[in-house]
Symmetry: C2
Subunit: 786 residues, 2 copies
């Protein structure tokens, strides 16, 4: 039990509750200077009351321990739809006014705080980028705990509290995140203090965890490797006492774990720490109306949003609202000017220790440029295009290894992935760091280490959440994953893009490092796993989102991948999706050319075509992606051999947004630029890595669009050979040659023999692979002949 | 301990292991009639050995208990990448030959079985639709347990075993699925027997659950509400004895739970059953090579795929493979003709009791048509378009309620959703059934019941997995969810579409009921939740997938929604995405017209435009979606009022795939049909519900595409009023009128005044909502004036 005066904590909590209710209901008369009248009430009542008193309680008690213990802390508010609570607390502690000087900490500012909430032109109803101290939106549930861990990694001095609603606790990503405690190093990382808030209900139903027996809940949390502390009740004074005690207990245990680990260092045993978790069981909509119109509300799902729904129209509701507001005794909490009283403010820490001012919640304030080595040290030599092969991701891995080495001191770079780092051929990283692992080990284990900065857990959700939390708190990273399974985090990346989009418009939010994806083991090379692993659609998903934020790259070889990665790791406030293969791939560009190619985003590969530059080509062969590039080059070689008079231009696109109009995307080409590459009237046969219609969707406004013919993946997949995959999807060199013949005016007759030869080769391929199980030697051993 | 002869179980297991290894390596000499030579070995070694012996063990022991207890059973193989194991078992039990008569149960068939595996033109490396007895692909991990529960609901006589790999156990969806046991009714549902297979490793790492202390694992499983049984070891005889005992124990407990619940009926207490779970801890790659090239393989991650990688080139590997294969003593398992010996087959059940023949795994064999009531009973009367308002989903809810009532006996229809059924205004359903809930209850609870067929858990993953399992085993259902959060299951629906696409080509797989989504609480009406809840991109994602399977509908009013739902619930082997609002929406079409409109998929609304049909219109106003339809109608009314001589045609699109070329989608229009609606040369201003470029991607091949101008959602979202949302995204009536003026030749001058008036109204709107917090009365109270 703490000796701290409960009355001060309660005053702060009541003030926060008052302010939360005020935001949901009031557009005037904030201090109840006069009896409430309908015109004081907002015309549309929007907001979530149910979770707010619980969030306020946690915030109040965090304030106290942060102040008493001089903690550096951050809180992830999982029930982020309880925006009124976090806004209320920010206003009370003064960080709201410091961020938005128009909303002063007085009656005038209180009126603005109330009115702007969920009001057109005002602030969103959820915790959002606009909310000081937040790194987590909380509208889409499931990611709070993963975000909290991401924030804590490599911040040894930081306490990350994380409120988990019992609704959110039912989601998969949250359920998986509990095991993140096996990846938190008590020496190099900070602490995560989960607060599982069982208020019993979701929108319309009881929650699972609130309705299992207490011993089962205890077993579950111990099964997760946690040491639970319980705070239960509905009597404020008793709950304050219990919560204060639990907070102290939890922080004492955290300190003990960290001190022990940090004093014994590397010699400590292979048992991971049993960190505390607080289970807070209080009524939903606690301190709100007990009943409304004869139905129970407090402590039920009916308290989820707006307990009194007809306040403007129904005088009884209006009266009940006034009673509810007055039950917090605002006259004790705010002076006649509307300023919080000293008693209310007593529990608050000061300066950057206030949760709304935490620099960790505004990671751009902390971010340091990543030390990036010279690309030339890692580039592969290319004397002649297409004469050597490298695994692009392995080449990238060596570059990343150097980054990992060069950040060994500052520890601000991590690579995450769902158990695929080695499969994706980035395993040189283990020369520089290990895989984070706090669990038991066996003698056969390799590369596991307590302080490793490669993070592997078989959950794309947790990987994504970790990385988001890590970036949002001022660090750098890369997520490598199988291309098809990036869809698992479609929804998460959508939310992160929304966060970044909004943040870019907030001058007080400093830019953070971009979220970088390496999508590999891609659709064209899933020889082993087949159809379920073949899906290039993640880029379609992200390209629907804010163009300011989204970048998508298809480097065609190892050096271009290096140049793209270098660019991505230097960028800010973006989501960069890099699609690149791990299988041996021809080297086309020396690194200096690769760098220029990436800067331009798309360009003519003179050496690969036959147009002399003096006149327009007869046909443009365009490509984006490593496998399509190889097929286009092979098709170009066939055309050069068999139709030497045909002027073929080869265009490679590495930055796919270049195809968009420049009014639509910051990387989009002007029409002049586009036409200079693709012409306005010549046939363009475009071999694209993914779903072909994406190219049309990007380029439909171009003058030459009617002449654009795109080949790509069309869901014709299975377990088969690499070349069979391109044949099945009509992306192969032979089909591309046929496409050229079909589209260049006058070629149909002249090249009828060649067209038939192409068909014959496709048939021969078909028969061959069924007989031999491998690709035709003419394909498997093909090299660029010029 | 069982009295069953372990030697017979072991013989079956060895045979299955032999066949699994054979599939990965051999293309000839299946019975080792001669020493292995390089030419017997496949040129590309693909497949996953690591999990196969464990799957074979479970299959063997399931065979025994199914036979002894005359069980109806199904098994969900979570580690579905262990295709060789399940194929081996199917071949042994004869179901493979019955399904594919060319692959006989003899030496010749064994050679085919081996050769075809992961071979071009052969069978995929994973458990797949092609695999007899499977309902689960297992390539994308996480959904096994949810699928198993879905299969068990409303199949009271069924045992669903479910193997969960310890890799899969790290995923979010799987972690959330453990709590599905609180939703399984022991009276009306079957049983799920999870087998958590801890083989210790993923691709390259130890697994979390294999490296936590045993007491913590036990606490975790008890915390999930399960009663664990442990089988641990690497000595086959001992493991066989322990597994047989655990299986008997588990099945005895299941029988006891079911008997008790079924005899006490509704009077039983509110404690849910503690179902057994088997924890099987055996080495990864068990019985495979202990070491290869001096490195440990059996019992490590190195056994994940192909333990001996260079068998063709390296004589030592070849020799080791032969020793490995001979270690199973094939001469005891197969006679000289390659037929399994009686000892091997002794444990097998017969007929449809064999797992590969389970009708539950071929749900189309079981599916019964859903009793669908006449739409007229639920339709809203429409005497005049746009004169009344209804909440479309509430109208649909009454229809679904009748379906729920009419299936009370046959229990083959469920509605799933993440705690949003009431929010989505489908709560009339509770007149017919409850919400499934086996947990503790409180007096304030409403509509919870043990046998309810509305399923609510705050996990879209679990909802989706349940419904997939339910449909795949021969029933019907609907998933209602907030539109934005459908992205959470992007990846899952992609896998389900792949499953259906492949199944459609397998004549032995009978068609199953379609997976029907109701996406509501959509982008235009997230007044309360704002930006995080605004994302219409799920339809973009599914429209990338196989057109044979995918259908997307935007019913513009209540009656059209009814007609779409009626159609969707009758369809087979499809994924139907229905996007419809829950907010009051104008009724445009009487139900008979709605039905015709849905059958046509798109049509001219004569009454809404001003072209007289005799000549081409000056402009086409097209719409898809309820809110865009209202804005187009309002724009049409403005044009009629202010530019009465302009011939305006209104086209509504309900089935969005109609826009695609008919060669690309079975619902696609011919060019003649398209041109008849949209013209070839007149401006088309298209107001679309989602991302506008989707319409371009669908229609880019149409002659009139250059004249197509699309408005839609462009990620400009926040917490605001409904009309402000359309204004922010330039989809509002005023902007549409301006678009018409800007695009119809000759209008710019003539209608300059109207254009200015439209701009003024947008400014007035902007000022009004910031002052009042509600939409302008001229918008809020608008009705169709004609």
């Amino acid at each position: 039990m703490t000796a701290y005066p409960i009355s001060e904590l309660d005053a702060h909590w009541r003030a926060a509750n008052y302010l939360a209710v005020g935001q949901i209901y009031l557009m005037d008369n904030p201090l109840l200077a006069e009896p409430l009248r309908p015109e004081h009430i907002k015309p549309r009542l929007l907001g979530h009351w149910g979770t707010s008193p619980g969030l306020n309680l946690v915030h109040t008690h965090l304030n106290r321990v942060i102040k008493e213990r001089s903690l550096e802390a951050l809180c992830v508010w999982g029930p982020g739809h309880g925006g009124p609570a976090v806004l209320a607390n920010s206003w009370l502690e003064g960080t709201y006014t410091e961020t938005y000087p128009g909303v002063t900490r007085d009656a005038d500012g209180m009126a603005k705080l109330f009115r702007q909430f969920s009001f057109p032109g005002g602030v969103p109803s959820h915790v959002a980028p606009e909310t000081p101290g937040s790194i987590h939106e909380g509208g889409e549930l499931g990611y709070a705990l993963a975000h909290a861990y991401g924030a804590a990694f490599d911040h040894p001095g930081l306490l990350v509290a994380c409120v988990i609603g019992d609704g959110e606790a039912e989601t998969g990503p949250l359920a998986a995140s509990w095991h993140a405690n096996k990846f938190l190093d008590p020496v190099h990382d900070g602490a995560v203090l989960p607060v599982l808030h069982l208020n019993g209900y979701k929108i319309a139903n009881p929650t699972v965890l609130s309705r299992i027996p207490e011993d089962e809940l205890d077993a579950l949390l111990r099964g997760y490797g946690h040491d639970p502390l319980y705070v239960t009740g509905s009597d404020p004074a008793q709950v304050h006492r219990a919560m204060a005690g639990a907070m102290d207990d939890a922080l004492d245990r955290i300190t003990a774990i960290q001190q022990e680990a940090r004093s014994t260092g590397a010699d400590r045993g292979r048992e991971y720490a049993r960190w505390p978790v607080i289970v807070l069981r209080t009524p939903k909509g606690w301190t709100g109306p007990a009943t409304v119109d004869g139905l129970p509300v407090e402590g039920t799902w009916r308290a989820h949003q707006v307990p009194l729904a007809e306040v403007r129209e129904n005088p009884a509701h209006l009266k009940q609202l006034e009673e509810w507001l007055r039950s917090y005794r605002p006259e004790e909490l705010f002076d006649s000017e509307g300023r919080p009283t000293p008693q209310v403010l007593e529990c608050l820490p000061t300066g950057d220790r206030r949760l709304g001012a935490s620099p960790y919640a505004n990671g751009g304030r902390l971010v340091q440029p990543l030390p990036l080595p010279a690309l030339d040290l890692f580039a592969v030599p290319v004397d002649k295009p297409g004469s050597t092969l490298h695994e692009p991701t392995r080449v990238l891995g060596r570059f990343l290894t150097q980054v990992m080495r060069d950040t060994a001191g500052q520890r601000n770079f991590r690579v995450v992935g769902p158990d695929e780092t080695a499969s994706n051929r980035l395993d040189d990283l283990y020369d520089a760091t290990g895989k984070a692992w706090q669990g038991m080990t066996e003698p056969t284990d390799r590369n596991l280490s307590r302080d490793g900065r490669v993070m592997e857990i078989l959950s794309e959700h947790v990987c994504q959440g970790w990385l988001e939390g890590y970036l949002l708190t001022g660090r750098h990273g890369l997520f490598s994953t199988y291309e098809a399974f990036a869809h698992i985090v479609d929804s998460m990346v959508g939310q992160h893009i929304k966060w970044l989009k909004t943040s870019r418009d907030l001058s007080w939010r400093a830019p953070i490092a971009s979220l970088n994806y390496l999508l590999t083991s891609h659709v064209w090379r899933q020889d082993n796993n087949g159809f379920s692993h073949q899906d290039p659609g993640f880029v379609d998903h992200v390209l629907n989102k804010s163009p300011e934020v989204v970048r998508v790259y298809f480097p065609p070889d190892a050096n271009t991948l290096l140049a793209v990665a270098d660019h991505a790791l230097r960028s800010r406030d973006q989501v960069n999706v890099i699609v690149a293969g791990k299988q041996p791939c021809f080297d086309w560009l020396p690194v200096d050319e690769a760098r220029i190619h990436v800067a331009r985003g798309a360009g003519i590969w003179d050496w690969a075509g036959t147009d002399d530059g003096a006149r327009e080509p007869d046909v443009v062969l365009a490509c984006a992606g490593d496998v399509p590039t190889m097929e286009v080059l092979a098709a170009s070689a066939l055309l050069r051999e068999h139709l030497p008079s045909l002027a073929v231009r080869v265009v490679n696109v590495v930055d796919i947004a270049r195809l968009m109009p420049h009014e639509e995307h910051p990387h989009g080409m002007t029409d002049t630029e586009y036409n200079a590459l693709f012409t306005t009237d010549k046939p363009v046969v475009f071999a694209y890595h993914g779903y072909p219609w994406l190219i049309h969707r990007l380029a439909y406004r171009r003058t030459g669009h009617a002449h654009l013919h795109v080949r790509g993946y069309k869901e014709s997949g299975t377990t088969t050979t690499p070349f069979d995959m391109v044949v099945r999807n009509d992306l192969d060199r032979y089909r591309l040659v046929m496409d050229v013949i079909d589209r260049v005016p006058g070629l149909a007759d002249r090249a009828a023999g060649l067209r038939q030869a192409m068909t014959d080769r496709r048939i021969r391929h078909h028969d061959w692979i069924r007989a031999h199980g491998t690709d035709l030697p003419e394909v498997a051993d093909w090299t660029w002949p010029y």
